[in-house]
Symmetry: C2
C-alpha cells in the first residue's frame, strides 16, 4: 500500500494488518510492517493500539465480527418462523466458515492461529453467537414450536453439537463429499430435540 494522506483510523490500521498477516503469516507480521504498508510511523499505529497483542486481538475480533453481523440479521428476523430461522442460522454459520476456509486458506490458517491466542475475543464471540441462537430458541418456545426449559442451555448445546461444522479444527472435513448431508442429518436431529 502506498503512503497516503487519508486520516489514519483504527479501521485502516486493521485492514492493513490483515493484509500484512495474509502476506507474512502470524509468526512474522510486525507492527513495523503494518506502519510501512500505511506509509506512517510505527508510533502512529501505537497511538491507536498500544501493544502488538492489542492490535492482533482487535484484528481477530474484526474478523470474527464479520460472521456475527451476518448472523444477527437472521437471529433478529422475529417475524419469521423460528424453526426456519434456526436452520438458516446454522446453515449460514457453516457456509460463512466454509467460504472463509476455502476462499482464502492462508488467511484462514493465520486467523486460526490468532484465534488460539485471543482468549477473550473468542469467548465474547461465542457468547454473542450463543446469545443469538438463544433468541431464536426463545422465540420458538413462545411460538409453541420448541419446548425446552432453558433456551440459553439449549442454545449452548446446539452450538456445541454443531462444532464439527463451525470449529476451524474441522476445516479440512468441510469439503469432503457427503458433508452437507451429514450437516442436514445433525440439524434435523437437533430441531427434533427442540420441538414441542
Amino acid at each position: 500500500m502506498p503512503p497516503t494522506s487519508e486520516t489514519l483510523t483504527a479501521e485502516r490500521i486493521l485492514a492493513a494488518t490483515e493484509e500484512v498477516l495474509r502476506r507474512h503469516g502470524p509468526a512474522k507480521a510486525t507492527v513495523v510492517d503494518v506502519a510501512r504498508a500505511l506509509g506512517v510511523s510505527h508510533g502512529s499505529v501505537y497511538r491507536h493500539f498500544r501493544t502488538k497483542a492489542a492490535l492482533r486481538e482487535a484484528v481477530t475480533k474484526r474478523w470474527l465480527d464479520r460472521t456475527t453481523e451476518l448472523l444477527a440479521e437472521i437471529a433478529g428476523a422475529t417475524d419469521r418462523d423460528p424453526e426456519a430461522r434456526l436452520r438458516e442460522w446454522l446453515a449460514a454459520l457453516f457456509a460463512a466458515k466454509r467460504r472463509k476456509a476455502g476462499g482464502d486458506p492462508e488467511l484462514f490458517a493465520t486467523y486460526s492461529v490468532l484465534v488460539g491466542d485471543a482468549g477473550e475475543a473468542v469467548s465474547a464471540h461465542i457468547a454473542e453467537l450463543t446469545g443469538q441462537l438463544a433468541t431464536i430458541v426463545r422465540d420458538g418456545v413462545q411460538a409453541g414450536t420448541f419446548a425446552v426449559d432453558d433456551p440459553q442451555t439449549a442454545a449452548h448445546a446446539v452450538f456445541q453439537a454443531t462444532a464439527r461444522f463451525h470449529d476451524p479444527n474441522y476445516a479440512k472435513e468441510w469439503e469432503r463429499p457427503g458433508v452437507l448431508g451429514e450437516f442436514e442429518a445433525l440439524v434435523d436431529l437437533l430441531v427434533r430435540g427442540l420441538r414441542a
Copy 2:
C-alpha cells in the same frame, strides 16, 4: 525392561512400544529403543511388524481398541432399555477419554499425535463406534422408544454432535467446571431428537 526368555509376542512388543513412546515421545521413539527395552534384536521386532509405521499403527489401534471393547459391552446389552444404554454409552465414552487425558497426559498427547497419522486405524475405530451406536438406536426403534428413518445416519449424527466430549482436540475443555452439565444438556437434546 530387562532381557527375558519369554516368547516374543506381538502383544509384548506393543506393550514395550507404548512404554517407549511414553518415555521418549512420538518424535524420538525408534524400533531400536523398543528392541532394547525387550532385550531382543531389532530384527526380531521387524519379524512381527515389518515397518516402524506398521508398529505405530498397531500400537495406536491397540490403544483405540481398549475404548471400543469397553463400550461394546454396553452396546451389546440388548436386554436393557435402549435409551438408558445410549446415555450410558455416551457417558462411558466421555469418561474413558477424560480418564486417558487426565490420568496420563503425556501418553495421551503422544497418542493424539499418532492418531493424526494413523488414518486407516482411526477410520476403522470411528466406524466401529458408530456401528455400536447404530445397534443401540436400531434396538430403540424396534422397541418403539426411538423414531428415526435411518439408525446408521442418526448414530453418525449423534457421534458427530458429541465430538466436544470425545475428540482429543477438546481435551483441555474436559476439566472445566460445568462440563458435565453441558454434556448432560447435549445428551438430553439428542435423546429427545431420537424419541418417537
